[in-house]
């Protein structure tokens, strides 16, 4: 290779290198420019997202306010419509008391019937609209499921006394008696289903059963069944039985009345309770509605559910005369009286009651109204007017008439009071106690003092072993010291003195347990742990402290009230 050739090659290579460098430079400028464009595109995208989010928020707020307006409207309408309807029905009752010829009576009966029908139609429609508008809220509280079933059984046993239909209940003993859920909704669901069965069952039985499907951590899955031996529903109708305004056919509507909304409402209520409903039916054999529903455990199961009947002792109240012709009612009231330790005599009708009153002195008389031979009004008038030892004894009417004019009829006949059937045991007990002037027994301390729901009552009970004085002192100590703890805590965090934070959390841990918040100790435990680390997580500490502050803010008024209540209680 000669020198000239070498120089040529070198020059070419140099030129090639320079060109490559120029191209690279151009490319990197291009890359930079594209990057800048990308960044601005990103920013505008973010802006767009922000704007859209804002728009969506506004739309949601609008929808929310529209929903609220609908809810308010429904609430108002509900009131506005029901008030005049109640007036119509009430006035009709009053008209029954005026001098009426048979033609007028018939007309008023029609008005009364139609008004009631209209009222229930309006109620159903409003209920359904309310549910659909989301205005019905599921509210959790403790209730006794078994008693709820019994109350429904009684209501319908009574309503069906003219038909050969037995209403039975079956309760799985593995189920907790006290559950947590919305008892009003549960009652409405079962009333609708049993009411439906009652309408379409001419003979046989209606069975309400509750059984355990499975337990989960916070409660149980429960299966509720309403089975009847009614006319049944054909397969096609079964598929839209839960639709609104759907009745199996028009004849049913004419014969049985109703709005066709009952089952639609029921389904909505079941779904609101996070449950499911199914129907199974055979024409001419009967229908079974099955509901599967989760019911939470009561969080105060250790607390005795106290009711009036527990606190009244009737065992020394003397003898009761029960005047009642219906066997079932005889049994029901008789069993209650036995349970309360009351001695009692039975009179199957008014005439026998008058006889008994001539022989024995009773402390109270429970009187049915409609009876063969002599009704309750006549018997009462006789007992009150005759010379006998029972002339001034309280007589309580037990009747299915809820109408005001029926009540006033009883009072006019000389009865002291009126109790509408079906009634709960506690209602009867209250009435008896009231008329015999028996006061509730002063219950013992542990039984009556109930803690605020924020505090874990069972923990407090086991911690203080029922020593309320000691508990009171501890609560006061807590109230007196918590603010200084809070201050120290705050300044330690501000000074980033993590050792101190950890130490305070450690001290606070048992103090929370002492006021029944042992489950809140976790906040302190995590703060204590975090503070000990070489490089504590600031976010975690701030969050823990925020939780602590929130808890104290929520707790202080509760504890102050608790202290006052304990003090009053101890007096």
């Amino acid at each position: 290779m000669n020198k000239a050739q070498f120089e040529r090659i070198l020059a070419r290579e140099r030129a090639a290198r320079k060109e490559a460098e120029r191209i690279m430079e151009d490319k990197s400028v291009e890359l930079y420019e594209v990057n800048v464009k990308l960044q601005s595109f990103n920013t505008s995208l973010e802006e767009k997202i922000h704007k859209r989010t804002q728009k969506m928020r506004n739309a949601m707020a609008e929808a929310e306010s529209a929903k609220n307006a609908e809810r308010d409207f429904l609430a108002k309408m509900s009131h506005e419509i029901r008030t005049p309807m109640n007036a119509v029905i009430g006035m009709t009752h009053l008209m029954f008391d005026t001098q009426l010829d048979s033609n007028q009576k018939e007309l008023i009966n029609s008005i009364h019937y139609s008004a009631n029908l209209l009222k229930s139609l309006i109620s159903d429609i409003l209920d359904l609209s309310k549910i659909e508008a989301g205005a019905v809220e599921f509210e959790e509280r403790d209730y006794n499921l078994k008693e709820l079933l019994i109350a429904i059984q009684k209501t319908f046993s009574f309503n069906l006394k003219n038909k050969p239909v037995e209403v039975e209940i079956e309760f799985d003993d593995r189920l907790p008696k006290i559950v947590r859920g919305d008892d009003v909704i549960m009652n409405q669901i079962l009333m609708n289903l049993v009411g439906n069965s009652a309408k379409f069952t001419e003979e046989g039985f209606i069975k309400i059963s509750a059984s355990l499907v499975s337990n989960y951590e916070q409660g149980s899955l429960v299966e509720l069944q309403v089975r009847d031996t009614g006319m049944g529903i054909d397969e096609v109708s079964q598929t839209h039985i839960f639709d609104s305004f759907n009745q199996v056919d028009r004849d049913i509507n004419l014969k049985y009345g109703g709005t066709g909304l009952g089952l639609a409402i029921t389904k909505h209520l079941v779904e609101l309770s996070k449950g499911q409903i199914h129907v199974k039916s055979d024409l001419g054999v009967g229908t079974t509605f099955t509901i599967t529903i989760p019911l939470n455990n009561s969080n105060s199961q250790h607390k005795k559910i106290l009711d009036y009947s527990d606190k009244v002792d009737l065992s020394n109240a003397g003898k009761v005369l029960l005047v009642e012709d219906n066997l079932l009612n005889q049994k029901y009231v008789g069993q209650l009286l036995d349970k309360w330790g009351l001695a009692w005599d039975l009179a199957e009708n008014g005439a026998i009651a008058v006889e008994r009153c001539n022989e024995t002195t009773y402390s109270i008389i429970l009187m049915d109204i409609q009876m063969p031979e002599m009704n309750g009004h006549e018997a009462t008038t006789l007992i009150r007017s005759n010379q006998n030892s029972n002339a001034n004894v309280p007589i309580i009417a037990l009747s299915a008439f809820a109408f005001e004019h029926e009540v006033s009829k009883s009072i006019n006949a000389g009865m002291s009071d009126h109790l509408t059937k079906p009634f709960a045991p506690v209602d009867l007990k209250k009435k008896i106690a009231e008329h015999l002037c028996i006061l509730p027994v002063q219950a013992s301390v542990e039984e009556v003092f109930t803690h605020h729901e924020m505090l874990d009552a069972s923990y407090l009970e086991s911690f203080y072993e029922g020593d309320l004085q000691c508990m009171l002192e501890m609560f006061e100590v807590f109230l007196n010291s918590i603010s200084s703890y809070n201050e120290n805590f705050g300044s330690a965090i501000e000074a980033e003195n993590w050792n101190e934070v950890s130490a305070i959390a450690h001290k606070l841990k048992p103090i929370f347990a002492m006021v029944g918040l042992h489950h809140k100790q976790v906040i302190m435990i995590s703060l204590e742990k975090e503070g000990k680390l070489d490089s504590p997580d600031l976010v975690k500490i701030k969050q823990g402290y925020q939780e602590f502050e929130d808890l104290v803010e929520e707790l202080l008024p509760v504890l102050k009230e608790e202290v006052i209540r304990i003090k009053t209680f101890l007096k």
């Binding site: 290779m1 050739q5 030129a15 090639a16 490559a20 191209i23």
Partner: protein, 179 residues
């Protein structure tokens, strides 16, 4: 035409025919690039024709044969430079079939101004592929060389029949049979 085609060509000439021949070619006076090429640049295809014509004159090997031989060589260079296109492909016909949609598409993404030939590909049977080469550059010899390089790379015996669809060679049908 991409610079890599030129730099690889110069390297091949240096290796096969020596520095003197390479220097003579790059000194051809009317080269648009003045004989200066970098792999990342882009140059006129006229320069390629001038270089190949020059080489043909110096070596007495026909232009067609030179293009074909160069195509065969540069295919192996491509397999080393762009291994991503050869991963997960183990058949020459599969590779050639995907050329237009896969490789040329990627080249276009990186070099929007690259001028590439068009291949219309039809699979005639399991072992037979038809490719129609369309390009105003009329470099079907180079294409044929590339196909032969492909055959070597996949170690498969390809029988390639060529038929001009246009007399000027701007549209050429290849029928490739894998034996």
């Amino acid at each position: 035409m991409k610079g890599v085609v030129f730099t690889e060509f110069v390297e091949m000439v240096e290796k096969k025919f020596g520095h003197d021949v390479a220097d003579k070619l790059l000194s051809i006076p009317d080269l648009e690039s003045n004989g200066v090429f970098t792999a990342i640049g882009t140059y006129s295809h006229h320069d390629m024709f001038k270089l190949v014509a020059g080489l043909s004159e110096l070596t007495k090997i026909s232009v067609q044969d030179l293009f074909r031989a160069y195509g065969k060589t540069i295919f192996l260079t491509f397999t080393r430079m762009f291994p991503v296109f050869f991963k997960e492909v183990d058949d020459s016909l599969v590779f050639l079939e995907a050329l237009e949609n896969r490789i040329h598409a990627e080249v276009k993404k990186l070099n929007p101004d690259a001028e590439l030939p068009t291949f219309k590909t039809t699979r005639l049977s399991d072992n037979k592929l038809q490719m129609i080469y369309i390009s105003e550059r009329r470099m079907s010899d180079f294409a044929l060389g590339l196909m032969e390089g492909c055959s070597d790379y996949f170690n498969q015996n390809l029988e390639i029949q060529r038929h001009n669809l246009k007399s000027d060679g701007s549209e050429v049908k290849f029928e490739i049979t894998r034996n």
